[in-house]
Amino acid sequence: MGRIRAALRPETASIRRRAVAALLLATIGSLVFASGAFADFLTPESGGSPNADQIDSLYKIVLYIAIVVFIVVEGALFYSIWRFRAKKGAVAAQIHGNTRLEISWTVGAALILVALAAVTFSKLSSIQDPPNSGKDGLQLADGVLTASTDMPKPPNGKSLTICVTGRQYIWRYTYGAECQRNAFGLVYSYEEMVVPANTTVVLDIQATDVIHSWWIPKLGGKFDAVPGYRNYTWFKAPKAGETYRGQCAELCGRNHADMTARVRVVTPQAYEAWVDQQRSDIADADREVQQLREQLTRDGDLN
C-alpha cells in the first residue's frame, strides 16, 4: 500500500482530503437524489406485471453501481486533468507503473461484476418463472397440455395461453392452449389483445414471414418472433381497466413503425363475455363471407 500511495500521491494531503470528501459527497448526494425520486426517464417501464417490476428493480441495482463507478472514474479523470495541468516549474513524475495497483483494480472490477452476476441469477426466477394466477383471476382447468417443454408454467400448471403471431405488419392473437397445435376454430383478434386481470398469461410467440419482436414495455421484456421457432414469455396484469401499449421492436420492413400492439386488461367476467362475443362475431363474419361467396358464385363472378 505504501508504494501505491507513494506512486499516486498528490502534492499535499489537504488536497487529497478535500477531493475524497467532494467525491463522497457527490456520490451520496446522487444516490439520495436517485433513490428518492427516481424519475421515470432513468429507469425502464414497469408497473403492469411482476416480471417487468423485477427487471426494473434489477436495473436499479445495476444503476446504483454504475453511478458510483461513473462518478469515481470521471472524477479521477477530470481531477487529474485539472490538478496536473502543466505549470511553470512543474515536473512530471516518471512513473512506469505499479503491479500492485494493476492487480487491485483488475480484481476490484472483477469483484463488482461477480456481485452483479450473483444478483442477476438470484433475481432470475422471479423474472422468468410465472407465478400462479390470483384468486380473483380467471378460473382455469387443470393440466392443460402444452406443445413444448420449454414453455414456462406457473407452479399449479394453470395459465391462460395465447399464441402471438407476428406478420408484416400486424400482430394476431389466438386464445387458448390448443392454439399451439391447431388454431382452427379458436377465438382470435388482431392488434388488441384482451386479457383477464390477475391471471397468469403465457404467450407462445411465433412469426410467419420475417422476424418481429413482441414488446409491451410495462409488461416485461422483448421476445423475438422468429419464423420456424417458438419463443415464450408471460405476464400477469393486476388491474382491470388498464390498456398497455407497445410495438414491434425488430425491423420487419417498411411499415415496421406501424406494427403496434395493445393489451387491454378486463375483469375475468368481462373477459369471458368478450370471448363469447368474439366467437359469435367471428362465426357471423364467416357466415357472411360464405353467403357472399355463394352469391358471387351464383352470379358467375367467382368460380
Binding site: 512530471a92 505499479n98 461484476l113 442477476t120 421476445f223 421492436a249
Partner: protein, 566 residues
Amino acid sequence: MATTDFATQPVPQVLAHEVHKERQKARWIDWVTTTDHKKIGILYIVFTFGFFLVGGIEALLIRLQLATPNNNFLTPEHYNELFTLHGTTMIFLFVVPIMAGFANYFLPLMLGARDMAFPRLNALSFWLLAFGGIVFYASLLWQPPEAGWFSYTPLSNEMFTPSGGQDAWIFLIHITGISSLVGAVNFYATIVNMRAPGMGWGRLPLFAWTILIYALLLILALPVIAGAVTMLLTDRHFGTHFFDPTEGGSPILWQHLFWFFGHPEVYIMILPGFGIISEILPVFARKPIFGYKAIAASTAVIAFLAALVWAHHMFAVPVPTVVLGFFMLSSFLIAVPTGVKIFNWIATLWRGSIVTASPLYFAVGFISIFVIGGITGIFLAVFPVDWQLTDTYFVVAHFHYVLMGGAVFTIFAGLYYWYPKMTGRLCNETLAKVSFWWMFVGFNMTFLVQHAAGLSGMPRRIYQYPGDAGWTLYNQISTVGSFVLGVGILISLVNFIRSYKNGAIAGPDPWKGNTLEWFTTSPPPVNNFDEVPRVRSVEPMKDIRRQVERQSGIEHETATTPHANA
C-alpha cells in the same frame, strides 16, 4: 551516428533527407499508381473521411425526420435506406478503413521501417476498398439496401427485399472484407518482421500492439462474414435455403454468423483508437505510459474475449437460459481488461505535467465518453435488463457512446496529433478546441437523451412516432444536438483544409513525441529514414533527446528528471 553533429543542435538531428528525383509522371498518375505506404495512408484517410461526411449527412436526415412526431419529411422506404446506408458506411467505409489508413501511414514509421512488408498488396487493399465503396454507393442511382446494417434474414431474403441494393450490400461486404484481410496480413507481416533493431515485443509502440491485434481479429472474423454473405447471396439467387425456415434453414444461423463477425468487429473498430490514445496521453502528460505491459496484455485479452461474446446481441431470440448466462458472464469479463485500460490511462495523466493541446482534448473527451458507453454496456450484458433495453434507443445511445467515443473521438485525436507529421504544418489550435467543444457538447446532447427515449419504450428504426408517446422532447433535443455535432465536425474540416496551406511549419517533432515517426522530417521523405536508430526503450525519441542533451550539453526544456521512479 556522427556524434559531433549534435553539438549545435538542441533538437534531435534528423537523419532522413528528401530523395530528390525528377517527377516522371503526372501528379494524379503518381497517386493512382503509388505503392508508398504514406501516400496510400493519405488516400485511405481522405477517402474514408469523405465517407464519414456522407454518413454524417445521412444521420442528419434521419434526425430531421425524427425531429417531430408523425413527420412526413421522409418516406418509410427512404428512412430504412438511410439508416442502412448510415450504419454500413460508418462501419465498413469509415471507422475500420480509416484505422487502416493510420496504420498504413504510421506503422512503418513507428517501427523504423521503410515501407510495409508488401507494398503492392497494400495498394491493392486500398483500391479494393475504393471500388467496394463506389459500387455500393452506385446503388443510390437504383435502389439502395434497406434491411439494416446487419441485414437479418428472412427480411434480407429475396422474397422480402427483392431489390439489387441488398446485393450491392453483399458486394460491399465481400470487397471491403478482402481489402481488410489483405491489409491485415500486411500489417501483421510488417509488425512481426520489420521492426527497428532493438525493438523487441516489450518495446513495440502500443499503437503497433493494437494494430497487431486488430489484424488478428480481422483475420479471425472476416472469413466468417464472407461465408455468411455468400450463403445469403446463394439463398437470394441460386435456390439454397440456408436461412429459410420454410425449407429447413434457420434465420438464427444468420444471426450467429453475423455476430460472430460483428462483435469482434466492434473491437476491430475501437482497439486501434485505444492505441492512438495510448500514444497521445504519455506525450502530452510528459510522462511514460502507466502500465505498458498491462495495456498491451489487456488488448490481447480483449481480442480473445471478443470472440466469445457474440450472442449478447441475441438475448431476445429463443435460446436456452444457460446460453444467456454464458454470454452475460463473458460480456462482463470483457469489461475487466477494458477497465484496466481506462485506469491505466488515468494513472498516466496522474502527476503528469499535462500540456492541454488539441490532441489531448480529444483524447480526454474520448475517455469521458467511452466510460459512459462501457457502463451502459454492463446494463445490456445483464440479459433480463437487456430484454427491456435491446432494440431500443438505449442501444442506439450505447453503441454511439462506444463508437463515436471509442472511434470518432480517437480518430480526431489521431488526426490532430499526426496532421503535422503528414502535412508538415500545424493545425490552428483555437479552431481545434472550438471544434472539440462543439463536438463534445453536440455529441452528448444527441445521444444522452436517447437513453431516456429507449427507457420509455421507443424502439429503434421506426420512421415515425406518435405525439402522445412522450418521446417528442427527447427527439427534439437529440436533433438539435446532432446539428451542433455536425457544426463541430465542419469546423475541424475547415481547420484541416486551411492549415494545409496556411498552418505554421511544424518541424520534425512539434509535440516532443515518443516514437520514431517524430525522428524524420514532416512530411517524411519517400524512404522514411536514412538511418534507423537502435531502439533501447518503448520511448526511443526520449532516449535520442537525452543523448543529444548529454552530448551537446544543452538542457532541453522538457528534459526528464530522474525523479520518483516507483
